[in-house]
């Protein structure tokens, strides 16, 4: 009886998992040898020599050391494939925007010199890293969650593709507000269809998620208009290449939507189960059960968002603080946007609770009245 957790899924499914493992290994092996697909020269570092250039004291404390590396590498593609090249590289011990390269790293290079024997390292080749982690995630999802793992993974892949398509259309001139709205409707439909199937419960969940998202974004917009964005440094948004308001609201919409959908799915699934177990349950009882679940998830859900968002700005906070920027300025310049995001997301989560409960309870008891 001392089964290991996960063994249930493993026992019956050795063959499919073995097949999956073979496919994923093949994908990773292919990506590991895909240099011929690239136009930019790629080289694999075979040896690195390093010397200390200088040592200075850091802005606040500690010492910063600059090193000069001379990497020897072998070209993996192009006409001079197999040729050995020398790549000089300077890096600082903090590695703020410099990188220390190691033997075994595969890098993109820019060749110079007439015989293509020297060059400059551009950046690391990341495709294999992404492929390996993606495959590891997929394999682990299947091992732990079984067939559902594949469904969820398919949902994520489909939604990523839609997201990309929407942005492509935006670049071609369609309004972002419209596109992100449409994207959220597609995300909802795809996610719920894949996980719950096409039924009335799915419809109720979708309607409550969309309604909550709309109300949340509307509230955020009203607050922005009333306060005129006071205290939030929209100009500090990274990689802004257009009007901040439009892009920030698209970000808010998509960012809050996941949490809202999660809340709605959990609540409507609970009410549905309650109704199945106790068909006589009235509207009041359903609401009570929904509230109990809502209270349980409200606290932890808002924490998820905060920690997912805050991580993005920590490197910038560290850089600023280590440059003697004051606490106030750091808070104001680099954290205010992430706080806005997590506050709006949390408002969405809290709003989703009564909206999902009301809609599900109304529908479940209306169905009874009709019978």
């Amino acid at each position: 009886m001392r089964q290991k957790p996960g063994a249930i899924h493993l026992k019956k499914k050795i063959l499919p998992i073995a097949v999956l493992l073979v496919i994923l290994t093949a994908i990773c092996l292919f990506v590991a040898h895909d240099s011929f697909l690239y136009q930019t020269p790629i080289a694999k570092v075979t040896a690195v020599a390093e010397e200390k250039l200088r040592e200075v004291s850091g802005e606040i404390n500690g010492t910063e050391t600059t090193y000069r590396q001379t990497a020897t590498a072998v070209l993996l593609n192009g006409d001079s494939k197999g040729q050995s090249i020398t790549l000089p590289n300077d890096y600082q011990s903090s590695e703020v925007s410099t990188t220390k390269y190691e033997t075994g790293d595969v890098v993109f290079v820019r060749l110079d010199g007439q015989n293509n024997t020297t060059g400059k390292i551009l950046y690391l080749k990341q495709d294999l890293h992404i492929a390996v982690l993606l495959c590891a995630f997929l394999l682990l999802s299947v091992l732990v969650c079984g067939r559902r793992g594949i469904l969820y993974f398919a949902g994520l892949a489909f939604n990523s593709a839609c997201f990309f398509l929407a942005l492509k259309l935006y670049i071609h001139g369609l309004p972002l507000v419209l596109l992100s709205g449409a994207a959220v409707v597609v995300f909802t439909a795809a996610t719920i269809l894949l996980t719950c199937g096409a039924n009335r419960q799915a419809l109720i969940t979708a309607v409550s998620a969309l309604a909550t998202t709309a109300v949340t974004i509307f509230l955020a917009f009203v607050v922005l208009k009333i306060t005129d964005g006071y205290g939030v440094r929209f100009d500090k948004m990274e990689y802004l290449s257009g009007p901040y308001e439009e892009i920030f609201f698209a970000e808010l919409l998509i960012g809050s939507f996941g949490a809202i959908l999660d809340t709605c799915v959990t609540i409507s699934a609970t009410l549905y189960q309650v109704k199945q177990h106790a068909p006589g349950a009235g509207r009041g009882e359903l609401k009570k059960a929904g509230k109990a679940v809502g209270m349980d998830i409200m606290g932890t859900m808002s924490n998820i968002l905060f920690f997912a968002y805050i991580t993005g700005c920590i490197p910038m906070i560290v850089l600023a603080l280590r440059n003697n920027v004051t606490f106030y300025d750091v808070l104001h310049n680099y954290i205010s946007l992430e706080i806005t995001r997590s506050l709006v997301g949390s408002i969405g989560i809290v709003l989703a609770i009564p909206i999902a409960i009301r809609l599900a309870a109304a529908w479940l008891s209306a169905k009874e009245a009709a019978v």
Binding site: G62, S94, L133, N159, G255, N303, L351
Partner: protein, 250 residues
């Protein structure tokens, strides 16, 4: 603007959740405030991995015990979060070492141009700490839901076979992971929008996007969080199962 939003959130939480809403609000405030303090403290020259590791342990404790009280269930959830965080820290350090997604990239040049880069503070360690922090909220959420679900399934039929209990828990846990990973996914996707528009606008080729440090950093953060979230399920089940067996013997 954030003040008004915070006020709005507070009012809504109290209206919807009453007493528990107040509690959830207090925990969120403590977590936000605590994390900011930890990050500032770390920046004065302490090891990021150690400080953020402690911060994550404190946040998980605050979230789990603060919201759901100190009992057998929350204790199981807490140990699972710590176990997975420790395991993931190893994975993260390895991933950071191989992918070197720390620090800033060419696209950030303008933003960081005001600052000296000689900060004598290891950006690789910061990046590792950040990856750990990204999924700690989700880990706590999943662990709690899995453990309470398992307890409920057990209590509804204590004489059921172990394999049935495990099967039901894994089924429930899969749903919890699915929705929570979805939450994280969209949260990351949201903050990813401006960067993707930048890539498209400046006509980066597919190969350039795929291999750029910025894109890789976002995707890898997402995948590492996903892996951590999935790992929580078997670990939480293994830890809480021992407690259930213990209860049975008593």
């Amino acid at each position: 603007m954030n003040g008004v939003l915070a006020g709005l959130l507070a009012v809504l939480m109290v209206l919807v959740g009453r007493k528990r809403g107040v509690r959830a609000l207090a925990i969120l405030a403590v977590n936000i405030f605590g994390t900011v303090v930890f990050v500032f403290f770390m920046s004065s020259g302490f090891s990021p991995v150690v400080v953020i590791g402690l911060c994550c342990a404190a946040v998980a404790a605050c979230t789990l015990f603060g919201i759901n009280g100190y009992n057998k269930k929350t204790l199981s959830a807490y140990w699972s979060v710590l176990a997975v965080a420790a395991l993931m820290l190893g994975v993260i350090l390895l991933v950071e070492d191989v992918t070197a997604i720390h620090g800033f990239s060419a696209e950030d040049a303008e933003e960081i141009s005001y600052y000296s880069e000689e900060i004598a503070f290891s950006m690789p360690m910061v990046a590792s700490a950040v990856m750990l922090m990204g999924f700690i909220g989700a880990a706590a959420d999943i662990a709690m839901s899995v453990v309470s679900g398992m307890q409920e399934i057990y209590e509804s039929n204590p004489d059921e076979k172990q394999s049935e209990l495990l099967k039901k828990t894994f089924l429930l846990g899969s749903d919890i992971i699915g929705t929570t990973v979805n939450t994280l996914f969209f949260a990351y996707l949201g903050s990813f929008t401006a960067l993707m528009i930048w890539f498209l606008k400046y006509r980066y080729s597919f190969a350039e996007v795929l291999n750029s440090k910025l894109f890789a950093a976002e995707i890898i953060q997402m995948l590492v969080s996903g892996i951590g979230c999935v790992l929580i399920l078997p670990v939480a089940v293994a830890i809480h199962r021992r407690k259930l067996i213990h209860i049975k013997r008593e």
